[in-house]
């Protein structure tokens, strides 16, 4: 019973007045607000209830699908009530004070001068200051260079030829993502498929291809690509020459007169390439045509007839334009 009386007394009581304060007050005086105190206590109680709910929510398996939401509510509201309690305290239960302080000195001329003097006097035994400084600087630079050198192990930064190498050679068979060889008959008009070099690393930038079949009469390939498109089937690198995303869109009209012409489109920045014209850039930020892979058909299967028409992947300093035809 005593606890009940105590609880009632606590809730209904107003709290005793402060005793006489020491002569020199630091913090300004202010009236007491028992009502606000009750609000704070209530908010803290709500915060406790919210937080306590977390444990049963965690333990109950039946709530699995909603658990994240309930966790968020329980913990989030606990913090929200705590925050509210602090704000009520800040606004109603701490003395309002506006005090004044001084900004510190902009400079300390005397100490600055003394520091200069100390440094200067410390070096009074040196006669060849410049030379010693030069020697020290040289040693520091050399040591710095030595310490930085192991960073070169981070990667094969000198072997930039790697950026040009692909797994495609004459005779390499095209396979789809299930490792089945791609037959010419599998590639219909108005269809597109992704192909990889048989037996090679699929994730390499030089590996993936987009393969489509076009009407041979509509082809306008550069003159030196005679025979690159058997039956009108063309293959291009699937990696955009702008910023390296996979070119996963093929826009191919069912009825030519009322739609845009056939094109590959990259979904990252919408560079658009013309498969009938050797991968020419039609729109978008790509600055270089899409590299084409020559194809040949052997026993009905598609094989590479050589390496790409130009460097694959996004452009970089080492890309040589050679006989690449530009937009």
């Amino acid at each position: 019973m005593n606890w009940l009386v105590a609880l009632i007394a606590l809730l209904l009581g107003r709290g005793r007045r402060r005793h006489a304060v020491p002569p020199e007050r630091v913090v300004a005086p202010a009236t007491q607000r028992p009502g606000a105190e009750l609000v704070v206590i209530a908010l803290l109680a709500l915060a406790s209830l919210s937080a306590l709910a977390f444990v049963p929510i965690y333990a109950l398996d039946s709530l699995r699908h909603l658990q994240t939401q309930l966790f968020g509510l329980s913990l989030g509201l606990a913090f929200a009530f705590l925050s509210a309690a602090c704000i009520v305290v800040a606004k109603t239960l701490v003395p309002e004070e506006q005090i004044v302080d001084e900004y510190s000195e902009p400079e300390h001329a005397y100490e600055q001068a003394t520091v200069e003097q100390i440094v200067d006097e410390s070096g009074s035994r040196f006669t060849r200051r410049r030379l010693v400084k030069l020697a020290a600087g040289g040693a520091g630079a050399a040591l710095g260079a030595a310490l930085v050198t192991p960073a070169a192990s981070l990667g094969p930064f000198l072997d930039v030829d790697q950026l040009r190498r692909t797994a495609w050679r004459r005779g390499v068979r095209l396979v789809d993502s299930d490792d089945k060889p791609v037959r010419a008959a599998d590639v219909s008009t108005k269809s597109f498929l992704t192909a990889f070099p048989e037996g090679a690393d699929r994730d390499a930038v030089g590996s993936p291809l987009v393969v489509v079949r076009l009407d041979p009469d509509s082809l306008e390939l550069p003159v030196d690509r005679e025979g690159w498109a058997p039956e009108g089937i063309v293959a291009y690198s699937k990696i955009c020459t702008h910023a390296g995303c996979a070119i996963a869109l093929y826009r191919t009209p069912l009825h030519e007169p009322t739609s845009s012409k056939s094109a590959f489109v990259c979904p990252c920045h919408y560079s658009t390439f013309d498969p009938a014209a050797g991968g020419k850039v039609l729109f978008g930020p790509a600055g270089r045509n899409l590299p084409q892979l020559p194809l040949m058909i052997e026993n009905g299967e598609l094989r590479a007839a050589g390496d790409f028409s130009g460097p694959i992947g996004p452009s970089w300093w080492g890309v040589r334009w050679g006989n690449q035809h530009r937009s």
């Binding site: 965690y58 990667g155 930064f157 930039v160 560079s271 452009s315 300093w317 334009w321």
Partner: protein, 454 residues
Amino acid sequence: MVGCALGEPAPVVIRRAVRFLDQRSGTAPLIRKALRYVFPDHWSFLLGEIALYCFVVLVGTGVFLTLFFEPSTEHTTYHGSYGPLAGSEMSQAYRSAVDMSFEVKAGLLMRQTHHWAADVFLVAIVLHLLRVFFTGAFRKPRDLVWYVGVMMLGAAMLEGFLGYSLVDDLLSGMGLAIAYSVVLSIPLIGGNLALLLWDGPFPGADTFLSRMYITHVLILPVLIAVLLTIHLLLIVARHHTQFRGPRASERHVVGTPLLPGYAPRSIGLAFGVAAVLILLGGLVQINPIWQWGPFETAQATNGAQPDWYLGWLIGGLRLMPGFDVTIGDYTLVPNAFWGGALFPLVVFAFLFAWPSLERRITGDTAFHNLLDRPRDNPFRTAVGAAMATWVFCVFVAGSSDRVAVWLKISYTAQIWFWRGAVVALPIAAFVFTRRLCDALREEDAPAGVRIVQA
């Protein structure tokens, strides 16, 4: 403790604690000074604190995540409870993130709170930066504080990018391919640098993921923490700036002391930030990686976007007309360089250079403890507005694809519009802002009184 709660002098435990501390460290004078440190009052001064508390939540939730995430590219097959991925091949990194979302209790809460905290961290930093810029708080002697702050902005952006790229999902993997291409596009050294960072051509060796991981969980957090400490110490050493007021001057700072006035406000703000982030983390889905699937070099999805604070870069990349700068057979500047590397470089260079640039242009090299209202410095405000408009236009241009889907406005038409707007709108913003500042200042001072141009 009995008898201490109802109006006696400070409880015995406080006395004992202070005595212990002072005897062991001699810091009572420092504490006494700190307790009555004066914080100038204005709501806009709290934006930096919001960023700070977001960082605390990031570290707290981040520690939890490190205990479950597996930073490995080793291939594995998924056998967890999310049906559409059953039997799929994926990296351990992706698998551990999906498991964290579906199998680990409270795992998804932590992942989402962490990711929301990162997004809101950058919102707070940008708002704080704008406040500091437009009130001139970066002027001497606080230009060093500003430099440290801009460094933290850059570090935070990189940290966030690495964080969501660790998970090796389709969306973030596409972002990594783009980042790789931007590095490649740097003239002269791009190829070498990309090979160095990725340990080989894209997608990089297995070391690349663990490199991202250690940078994200150790190197950058420590860097940000150190920069933050320097930032705060410098602020305290020179004291906070304040707006002009009745007793406020270049020599005297007026405000609320840390104890008892400011402490409950700061603590309340801290709890409030935590509340918002955790409520978001539980109630609003973010980065549902199980819906994207694992990353493969040969795959891509439409509508891929980076997290919001990198949206300006995707805009830059999309707006550039298509050309690689070449001389004869040689490539000089690949296209991705302009929007992906030069553009952010120019913006950060502007941010770093501005304090000394403003000193040089206005001739004002004095110390300033008082803040400008934006209207009091029309030149700075107009330049800031123009710069912000420029970045914002590029940022909005970056989301033209979804605008095309939602509002049925042609994508190509939007791009052409924005190409013109990114030149025209900042100029218009400069002129308009300048006029607006002058007009507002005219309102403040009655007619006939000369207004001195700041």
